[in-house]
Point group: C2
Chain length 269, copies 2
């Protein structure tokens, strides 16, 4: 069992109440689950989610808490396991309840809540909370964030996070790794894109595996540009709000447009 | 600048006073350095260490604080930048002031203090503290720790941390990655070996790059076996206390002897 505590999120005062309520509910639920279940139990696949992937117990527990908080806040919810919960609002929360589920289940302290507030079909605000520390990254579309990307333009010498190499992407993975100064694989896209936003690393990339769903990237779609960087898809497909959770993207977050373009060129070879 | 706080280490009551004092001094110094210097300044290479590698400013600041604390505690110190500081004691602290220096400098929240207490030439006790959370792992030779490895025996399906692939180790790296269920690259050996000890991942391996010095592995050498696992070198070279800091090992930490053997066989191909 993982007995380390999960602190309450350290949120800025001006976070939208629906985002704040769901983030707090998520941290409470994850902390409770860690205290109640063993690692093997948290990892157990207990259902198939609306996005077509298996649902671990830890995902289900946290999503249930989020669904209740969203209902209480009067917002619709689009989430990976439950799909679309229509509460008759113009406001929809698009949330990854536990990004880095495998980390969260086994006890690797790298997992987070990530969510965006969508009005009609436009994302307007985002919040990401790292569960193990309570650190939060908050952004609004069109408003600069206090944290900034590094602004780095060149891949050579860059600090890069990568999705782990999956079958068929190994060569592209090594091309990026060999150009960069240092690669890391943290297995939590939402947290890794926030490290790009705050300037701790220069970029994050999925080297072509088409792994990401809307809720894996929507917080970064709001936050990384607000911090001076860019978020795009390897193949130029626009990231748009959509209730169809079978859609996938190969997300790239970079400190500058130039670095994003060089990553795309390097991955495509 | 990285403005996140560095909490005081959360230490068990029975840690040896010299280890506790140096760990506390390290956390204080790192927290101070983060508040005072930019990321670029923390990363700047300002000297060459006794181990033959460049010393970043962040390493130098934390090591100075550790040296003063070791002197105050009356213990000798063997550290990567300063080398051996002989204070005329039978007790020597072998310390990596900042493991994961590149993370610590740029603000990736994965870096730690790691140290062992050596009496004459025998390691007897170890302490690792993750700077960004204050979490501590403490162990004594011959005494079981409260945290335990997973006990996993097979690589297929395992959760593995790897050193990043360096030139010449790419093929071995991919062989391990393709067998494992999931790989991670956190760029902090001392923290990654503690995740093996506490059962969050099944193993950590350097796939043949001979990167590790004594202070990168000595805390794991005490802690991982006390938690039920094994620590060994890829080529079977014994890990022994030695003042010669040019020695290198390819460390492997695993939840069981069987998993360690399979990792060795997979890496050697």
């Amino acid at each position: 069992m993982n007995t380390w505590p999960v602190p309450a999120p350290d949120l800025p005062a001006d976070v939208h109440p629906a985002l704040a309520a769901t983030a707090r509910a998520a941290a409470r639920a994850y902390g409770g689950a860690r205290g109640e279940f063993t690692r093997a139990q948290l990892r157990e696949e207990i259902a198939d989610g609306a996005d077509g992937t298996p649902t671990m117990r830890v995902d289900a527990i946290v999503e249930d808490a989020i669904a209740e908080a969203a209902r209480g806040a009067g917002a619709n919810l689009l989430s990976e396991e439950a799909g679309f919960l229509d509460h008759g609002s113009a406001v929809t929360l698009v949330i990854d309840p536990v990004d880095g589920s495998a980390n969260a289940a086994t006890g690797v302290p790298l997992s987070c809540f990530a969510g965006a507030l969508v009005v009609d079909d436009q994302p307007v605000e985002a919040l990401t909370v790292w569960f193990d520390t309570g650190r939060a990254w908050h952004a609004r579309v069109g408003e600069p964030t206090p944290f900034r990307t590094t602004g780095r333009k060149a891949l050579k010498g860059a600090n890069v996070c990568l999705l782990r190499p999956k079958r068929g992407t190994e060569e592209a993975w090594l091309r990026v790794s060999n150009q960069a100064d240092r690669v890391r694989v943290l297995c939590t896209t939402c947290l890794e894109t926030m490290l790009v936003a705050e300037g701790a690393v220069d970029a994050f990339a999925d080297p072509g595996s088409d792994t990401h769903r809307l809720m894996d990237l929507i917080a970064a779609l709001v936050t990384v540009p607000a911090a001076g960087g860019v978020l795009l898809d390897l193949h130029g497909r626009p990231l748009t709000f959509d209730l169809d959770l079978t859609r996938r993207w190969s997300g790239i977050a970079a400190a500058s447009p130039e670095l994003a373009d060089e990553l795309v060129a390097t991955i495509l070879g």
